[in-house]
């Protein structure tokens, strides 16, 4: 059972790749690509899924893939025009195929009427075109597929072959079954099979073990000879085989030891015929080579735990290197000392290794983006709008975990963009735009971060309406006067939803605040920009990896600590008049005409060592959840650096106000502060003691907790 299920797992893993290739190919076709390579790639993907599914008796999947393949075959051979309708059907079919694969993986069954609808759509494309392929042979199909070369000229010469095939004794001894081979040939096209009994041995003869059956197959196909030869690859040397183009026919079956066409002794009986008949075409070896060159690069599937273990060790290596370097510096050696030079090499090597290891976890955002094109199609269908997705920077690589955790927020934003961002087709045309809206989804690296942008060319944010809604919901004070950017920021407040009618898609009360929280949880930021009439752009900025973080090194009560850069808006050295006491403990910072609460980090953490108190504290202006701002009081700011994040949970537990720890260059541990938690800690008891008066602008602190 176990081996079977592991093969099954492999099949589904491969399916992911195949579906990805399928989506990619279809997207290229939708974008106007009509070249054979692209169409063949799409065809191959579906074909491979079908073949594999056949092997696992996933009948629904096989049936659907088969019909899909028939349509693709029509496109490939030029009998079917690639109209936008056909294109649309194919894309939707690809989505459905993905659903079927997913269902099969979970051992689910999709409701049959759904499949029926898709099958009907495909049939509609085909018009009256009849089913041409025989379904019975599919289980063996998949042996054939990878060998189908996109560049072979076969489609231009609809021809056939005569295959004379006579197994030797060894073929049976090795457990091969001629029926399967014949079935595989049969799968390539209509095929006549004739049994050749001419070599049946005399029953009375001494050699009853010598097999006497041979077959002559007359195959009509568009496949190249290479494909045919690949079918027989596994029985090379185990049979006598002759493949010749159909034009050379008719050839009557040869009597068994056929000296001319099939040298029967094991050393490569296939070689001479191949050389002979392949001459007008490409050499099979060359074909295989080119296929390899174009095919996917060889990859290795590795358990993620192993990679993480490696990443951890490398993190330690880096720290260890830093410690050695620091010790050396303390020893005040001459800078050209051998040891110093070696340690410098060590540093460079360690960095190289770190980058290489991080690259293992990094994955292109492409599959994620491809999933979004499906989301877009569904959203467009549900809202009756017409939209297309344009992606760029798909090869930008991001940490695998980041990609996984980005899927939900991105889905939500794409839906939002279609549902709220784009206008209906009529409104668009009235505004002088193309009836089909464009949503651009892109990724890029920028100074150690990954920037993801989602831009629609819709009407832009309706700021008066946003403000109106926010006022009605009590999210802002009725008289608050907000700048455009501040109004845009209201969209991220919990419970904010602009859709006047609750639609199926978005607007279930789960809004951009959820997106924002997901992005913040990844150590990223999200911002919004909008131009009326031209569209809205969301920008998500994310760290490249979750294992390393940019931090600001500060001291608090004599301790060195790290504050994540992403949460710091600015550092402020307040003038004496900028801090205003409120009551005995609290003070407010006045900045640009607003009052921001301050939090003494040392006191919040319970480090109350007054002797370590600096005379001139620094303030870090941080933005927490719900865009509430507060100023953290620290003693000093040292520098900014990348720190390796070390969890506290595994050996100790959670510490309030602290998200993790890191190891500094001197080997000492520094705590990484969680500004949100520290700010919340302040808000907690204070808020219960007395409702906070609306001293400062009403825009920031009304998020429901």
């Amino acid at each position: 059972m176990a081996p079977q299920s592991s093969i099954r797992d492999t099949f589904f893993e491969e399916c992911e790749d195949l579906l990805e290739a399928l989506a990619e190919g279809l997207a290229a076709m939708a974008g106007g690509a009509r070249d054979t390579d692209t169409v063949n790639a799409v065809f191959r993907a579906v074909h491979s899924v079908k073949g594999g599914a056949g092997a696992f008796a996933l009948t629904d999947l096989v049936a659907f893939a088969h019909r899909f393949e028939t349509v693709l075959d029509g496109v490939r051979s030029g009998t079917l025009d690639l109209t936008p309708e056909v294109m649309h059907t194919m894309q939707r079919s690809a989505d459905h195929l993905a659903d079927l694969v997913e269902a099969a993986r979970n051992e689910d069954v999709l409701p049959p009427d759904v499949s029926e609808a898709f099958l009907a759509n495909l049939d509609q494309c085909l018009g009256a075109e009849p089913e041409s392929l025989d379904m019975g042979d599919t289980p063996f199909d998949f042996a054939v597929i990878p060998l189908e070369f996109g560049d072979d000229p076969a489609p231009k010469e609809p021809a056939g072959y005569v295959i004379r095939f006579r197994p030797l004794q060894q073929l049976y001894a090795n457990g091969h079954d001629p029926a399967l081979l014949i079935a595989a040939v049969h799968a390539l096209g209509p095929c006549e099979v004739a049994l050749d009994l001419s070599a049946l041995p005399d029953w009375d003869g001494p050699d009853a073990l010598t097999p006497g059956l041979g077959w002559t197959l007359r195959l009509t196909t568009q496949e190249s000879e290479t494909v045919l030869q690949e079918i027989f690859e596994f029985v090379e040397g185990l049979c006598s085989l002759d493949i010749s183009p159909l034009e050379d026919a008719p050839v009557p079956a040869d009597p068994l030891p056929s000296p001319a066409a099939s040298p029967s002794p094991p050393p490569g009986p296939e070689a001479p015929p191949a050389a002979a008949s392949a001459a007008p075409k490409s050499d099979p070896a060359a074909g295989a080579e080119s296929a390899e060159a174009r095919g996917p690069k060889p990859t290795l599937r590795v358990d993620l735990d192993r990679v993480d273990r490696l990443i951890n060790s490398v993190g330690e290596l880096i720290i260890n290197q830093a410690m050695i370097a620091q010790r050396l510096q303390d020893m005040a050696l001459a800078s050209d000392d051998d040891v110093s030079l070696h340690v410098e090499d060590y540093r460079l090597l360690a960095r190289d290794i770190q980058e290489a290891v991080m690259a293992i976890r990094a994955q292109p955002v492409k599959p994620l983006f491809q999933r979004m094109s499906r989301i877009l199609r569904e959203a467009a269908e549900a809202t009756g709008k017409s939209a297309r997705l344009v992606t760029f920077g798909e090869n930008t690589e991001v940490d695998k975990t980041v990609i996984e955790r980005l899927a939900d927020p991105l889905t939500h934003m794409i839906r939002n963009a279609v549902d709220h961002g784009l206008e209906g087709p009529d409104a668009r045309r009235a505004a002088g735009k193309d009836g089909t809206g464009t949503i651009r989804l892109g990724a890029a690296h920028r100074s150690g971060s990954v920037i993801i942008t989602i831009r629609d060319d819709g009407a832009g944010l309706n700021r008066p309406r946003i403000l109106d809604i926010a006022r009605r919901k009590g999210l802002v004070a009725p008289d608050a006067d907000l700048a455009d950017a501040e109004i845009d920021g209201l969209l991220f407040l919990p419970g904010f939803s602009t859709a006047s009618a609750v639609s199926n898609l978005s607007g279930r009360g789960v809004g951009l605040d959820v997106v924002r929280n997901a992005v913040t949880a990844l150590g990223g930021r999200i911002s919004i920009a909008s131009v009326p009439g031209q569209g809205t752009e969301f920008t998500i900025s994310l760290p490249l990896t979750l294992a390393v973080m940019d931090g600001m090194v500060v001291s608090v009560a004599g301790q060195t600590m790290v504050v994540p850069i992403t949460s710091i808006l600015e550092t402020i050295r307040p003038a004496p008049g900028d801090l205003h006491r409120v009551g005995t403990d609290d003070s407010l910072l006045s900045i640009r005409g607003r009052f921001i609460p301050t939090v003494d980090v040392a006191r919040s953490l319970g480090f109350t060592d007054p002797s370590a108190r600096a005379d001139f504290p620094l303030l870090l202006l941080v933005e927490g959840e719900n865009q509430s701002q507060c100023a953290l009081v620290v003693d000093a700011v040292h520098d900014q650096r990348q720190v390796v994040i070390k969890g506290l949970d595994s050996n100790y537990g959670q510490v309030p106000g602290v998200s993790a720890a890191t190891v500094l260059g001197d080997g000492q541990i520094a705590l990484i502060l969680d500004p949100d938690a520290i700010a919340a800690h302040r808000a907690g008891p204070a808020a219960t003691a007395a409702p906070r008066p609306p001293l400062f602008h009403a825009d920031v602190h009304h998020g429901q907790h």
Partner: protein
């Protein structure tokens, strides 16, 4: 405790002194013994948690064993050592005054903890072993490092 036939009767303990008393811990739980190095204090930590230290890249909490048993905190001294011990997948350090010896005793020599009044002692000491001039207390590491009530928050 995975004992081979040979060790079936003999158990090995590492004994050390903390707060002037002798404690011991199953040798299978001890990873290494390190000299003391400064730790980074943790906010809102219970009294016996001195802070965290860096053990080859891992962040491990250091418990003052004496303080854990309600004695005074171990005074700073260059002789102090940290016993690195593992409980399941959790690695912790125990600050003690000195490591004394490795004790190999038959199982029958371990006596149940007499009925003492201290809750802490009852919960964290699994037994006592008589040694030359007195006795050593066998500690239950899991109970020692278990977050206590409000301290866990």
């Amino acid at each position: 405790m995975a004992n081979t036939d040979l060790a079936e009767t003999d158990l090995e303990f590492v004994t050390f002194s903390a707060g002037g008393q002798s404690f011991s811990i199953d040798i299978g739980q001890v990873r290494e013994i390190r000299r003391w190095s400064p730790v980074t204090p943790l906010p809102h930590a219970p009294d016996e948690v001195l802070g965290v230290m860096n053990l080859r890249g891992s962040v491990i909490p250091i418990y003052d064993l004496a303080a854990r048993f309600g004695l005074d905190r171990t005074p700073e001294s260059p002789r102090n050592v940290v016993v690195i011990a593992m409980h399941g997948s959790q690695t912790v350090g125990l600050l003690v005054e000195a490591v004394s010896e490795i004790l190999s005793v038959g199982r029958e020599r371990i006596q149940e903890t007499p009925d003492v009044r201290s809750d802490t002692a009852r919960q964290t000491i699994t037994g006592v072993i008589t040694v030359d001039e007195g006795m050593t207390r066998v500690i239950d590491l899991a109970a020692v490092v278990q977050p206590r009530g409000k301290a866990a928050a």
